[in-house]
C-alpha cells in the first residue's frame, strides 16, 4: 500500500493576528504548527500502514520552514516526505496548490492507494484542496470523516453531514479528509524524533514536476485584510438570581429583540 498524507503548516491557533504595513497578515514571531486536522490525517495514514503494510509519504506545498512540519510527521511515524517549494508558489491559492499536488501524485509519486488530508486548514479555512485534488485525480472522496476502515480493497468512511452522519463505501484509490474524532493523534516518541532526522525529505521545485509558474498562477487575490470590529464588553448583571434573570429576559426582549 502506498499511503499519502497531505499536510499544511499553519499558524498556532493561539496566534494573535497582526496586519502588517502592506495590509497583509504578518507571520512575524508566529509559532507554526502542523494544521490540527492534518495530524488526524497523518495518524490515520500511519495506522493504515500499521494494519495493512506499505509506506506513508507526507507531502506539502510550502516554504523552507515547512520542513519542520514534515519532520514532525516523520517523527510521528511517516516514512518519507516531499516538499514542493518554489518562489512561484508563495501565497498560492487552493487551486494552485492542488495543481502542484495533483501533478506530483499523478506522475512522480503515482501509484498511491489512498490519500488522507485534513478537512480544512485553520489559517484560511478554505476547505478546498482535498476536493479539488480529488477532482483533478478523478478519485472517490469522503470529506469530514470521523471513522475509516479498509478491508478487501474497499474503504468505508463515516462522514459528518448537516444534522447527522452518513456511511460511504469508496473504491480505491480514494481521498479522505479528516475531521476530529477520526482517531487519537500520537505524539512523536524520542526515538521517533531521532529516526526522523535520517528519513528522506525530498525538496522539489516546480520545474522538477514539469510545471511552470503560469500553471500555478493564483486566481484569487487577497486585496486586503482587516481586523474584525472588536466586540465590546456589554452590561454586567449581578445580584439576586431572580432579579438578574428578570433583567436578562427583559433585555433580550426589549433591547436585543431576539426572543
Amino acid at each position: 500500500m502506498k499511503i499519502v498524507a497531505c499536510i499544511k503548516q499553519t499558524f498556532d491557533t493561539e496566534a494573535k493576528i497582526v496586519i502588517g504595513g502592506d495590509g497583509q497578515i504578518s507571520d512575524e514571531g508566529v509559532n507554526l504548527i502542523v494544521n490540527p486536522y492534518d495530524e488526524f490525517a497523518v495518524e490515520e495514514a500511519i495506522r493504515t500502514k500499521e494494519k495493512d503494510g506499505g509506506e506513508v509519504v507526507v507531502v506539502t506545498v510550502g516554504g523552507d520552514k515547512a520542513q519542520e512540519a514534515l519532520r514532525y510527521c516523520l517523527a510521528m511515524g511517516a516514512d518519507r516526505a516531499v516538499l514542493i517549494n518554489d518562489p512561484a508558489l508563495v501565497g498560492a491559492d487552493s487551486g494552485a496548490v492542488s495543481v502542484a499536488l495533483a501533478k506530483l501524485l499523478s506522475e512522480k509519486e503515482a501509484g498511491f492507494d489512498i490519500i488522507f488530508a485534513g478537512k480544512e486548514a485553520v489559517d484560511y479555512g478554505a476547505a478546498q484542496v482535498p476536493s479539488r485534488l480529488a477532482e483533478k485525480l478523478d478519485l472517490a472522496q469522503a470529506n469530514v470523516v470521523t471513522a475509516f476502515e479498509l478491508s478487501d480493497g474497499k474503504a468505508t468512511a463515516t462522514r459528518e453531514i448537516d444534522g447527522g452522519s452518513e456511511t460511504l463505501e469508496l473504491a480505491l484509490p480514494a481521498l479522505i479528509s479528516a475531521q476530529k474524532g477520526l482517531n487519537e493523534v500520537r505524539y512523536p516518541s524520542l526515538p521517533g524524533i531521532m529516526k526522523a532526522k535520517r528519513k528522506p525529505l525530498e525538496v522539489l521545485a516546480l520545474a522538477d514536476l514539469g510545471l511552470s509558474a503560469d500553471d500555478v498562477a493564483s486566481k484569487i487575490e487577497l486585496v486586503s485584510a482587516e481586523l474584525p470590529p472588536a466586540r465590546k464588553a456589554g452590561q454586567r448583571l449581578t445580584g439576586e438570581v431572580d432579579e438578574v434573570v428578570a433583567k436578562l429576559v427583559q433585555l433580550l426582549q426589549e433591547e436585543a429583540k431576539v426572543i
Binding site: 463505501e169 473504491a171 429576559v249
Partner: protein, 320 residues
C-alpha cells in the same frame, strides 16, 4: 451573463441557505446587471422550482434524474461542470454547508476557476466582485478578488438576509450526460429530535466544562427547549465526552452566527470565540467575574449556572 445559485435540497426540501443565496444573488444581479438563475439537481424534485421562483430568479434549470437521487460530489460536480460550460456564468454561489463545502471546490477544479469559501459579504463595484471571507477563524477578514470569467463563492449560513422578489421565473430542463458516482452511500443517521441545525439556528445554547459533567447538559437542553434553540458545546466538554464533536463550536468546530448565543460555563478561550464571535448577541453565564467570555458578552451574568439556568427556564416558561 448570469449569476447562478446552486440550490441545495435534501429529501425533497430546500435548505434555508438556498433562499439566503438566492436573495444575495438577486441583490448582486441587480447591481451588476446579470440575470439570476438557479440550478436544481436531484430526483423527483422538479416541483421545488416553484419555491425558488419566489426569490427573483429569471430562470430555474432543473436536472431531474434518478441517478442523482443521492448527493455525491463527483456526479453532481459533473452536472455543474456541464451547466457552467453551457451558461458561462460570471458568478456561481453555493451555501457553505456540508454539501457546498465539498461540491463547490470539486466543481471549481473541474471548470478551473477561483473560489472564495465561507463568504460573509459580497459587493459589486467598478465592474468587479469583492468577497469578504473571515480568515484565521474570524481573527481577521480577508477581502478577495477573483479573476474571471467564472468566479465561485460559498456563503456562510445565517448571515445573508432572505428577501422575496419578482423575477421572470422560467423553468427549463437541463439534461446533461450523467456520470455514475464512485461513492456509494450505505447508511445515514440523522440526529433525532426537532432541534434546529447548529449552523442554521437563530438561537444557540452552549455549555462548557463549567457544567461539571454530562448531566449538566440537561440544563442546557432545558434552556434550549424553552428558547427553541440548538445545543452547542465548548471543546473541553467534547473532549470530556459529554457531548459529541458535531456540537463543538470554535476554531476546530463549527462556526456559527446566530442572533443569540448563550454560553454557560464556558470561559471564552480564543478558539471558542473564533467560532461564535460573529453572533449578533452573546450572553455569558459564568461564576468567575474575570472570565474572558465577559469581554465579548453583550449581557454577562455573573453567577452559578446551576442556579441561573433553572431560574431562567422558569422565567421563559412564564412568558409562553
Amino acid at each position: 451573463m448570469s449569476i447562478v445559485v446552486c440550490a441545495e435540497q435534501r429529501d425533497g426540501s430546500l435548505r434555508k441557505i438556498t433562499f439566503e443565496a438566492l436573495s444575495e444573488g438577486k441583490r448582486l444581479a441587480e447591481a451588476s446587471g446579470e440575470t439570476l438563475k438557479a440550478l436544481l439537481i436531484g430526483s423527483g424534485i422538479a416541483g421545488l422550482a416553484d419555491e425558488l421562483k419566489k426569490y427573483g430568479v429569471d430562470e430555474v434549470a432543473v436536472v431531474d434524474n434518478e441517478a442523482l437521487a443521492a448527493y455525491a460530489a463527483d456526479s453532481y460536480a459533473a452536472v455543474l461542470g456541464a451547466y457552467i460550460a453551457q451558461e458561462n456564468p460570471a458568478l456561481v454561489l453555493f451555501g457553505h454547508s456540508a454539501v457546498g463545502k465539498e461540491l463547490a471546490p470539486r466543481t471549481a477544479a473541474k471548470v478551473d476557476c477561483g473560489l472564495v469559501s465561507d463568504c460573509i459579504a459580497i459587493s459589486f463595484a467598478d465592474g468587479d466582485y469583492l468577497f469578504s471571507h473571515p480568515v484565521y477563524a474570524g481573527k481577521a477578514i480577508g477581502k478577495y478578488k477573483v479573476a474571471g470569467p467564472v468566479r465561485m463563492a460559498t456563503l456562510r449560513p445565517n448571515v445573508f438576509a432572505v428577501a422575496e422578489s419578482e423575477g421572470a421565473g422560467a423553468v427549463v430542463d437541463f439534461a446533461p450526460e450523467i456520470t455514475a458516482s464512485k461513492v456509494t452511500i450505505t447508511g445515514a443517521e440523522m440526529a433525532s429530535g426537532d432541534r434546529p441545525e447548529l449552523t442554521e439556528a437563530d438561537i444557540i445554547c452552549s455549555g462548557g466544562r463549567g457544567l461539571g459533567g454530562p448531566e449538566g447538559f440537561a440544563l442546557i437542553e432545558g434552556l434550549a427547549d424553552a428558547l427553541g434553540a440548538a445545543v452547542g458545546s465548548s471543546r473541553a466538554a467534547v473532549d470530556a465526552g459529554w457531548r459529541e464533536h458535531a456540537a463543538q463550536v470554535g476554531q476546530t468546530g463549527k462556526v456559527v452566527s446566530p442572533n443569540l448565543y448563550v454560553a454557560s460555563g464556558i470561559s471564552g478561550a480564543i478558539q471558542h470565540l473564533a467560532g461564535m464571535g460573529s453572533s449578533k448577541y452573546i450572553v455569558g453565564i459564568n461564576k468567575d467575574g474575570e472570565a474572558n467570555i465577559f469581554n465579548v458578552a453583550d449581557y454577562g451574568v455573573e453567577g452559578d449556572l446551576n442556579k441561573v439556568i433553572p431560574a431562567l427556564i422558569e422565567k421563559l416558561k412564564e412568558l409562553q
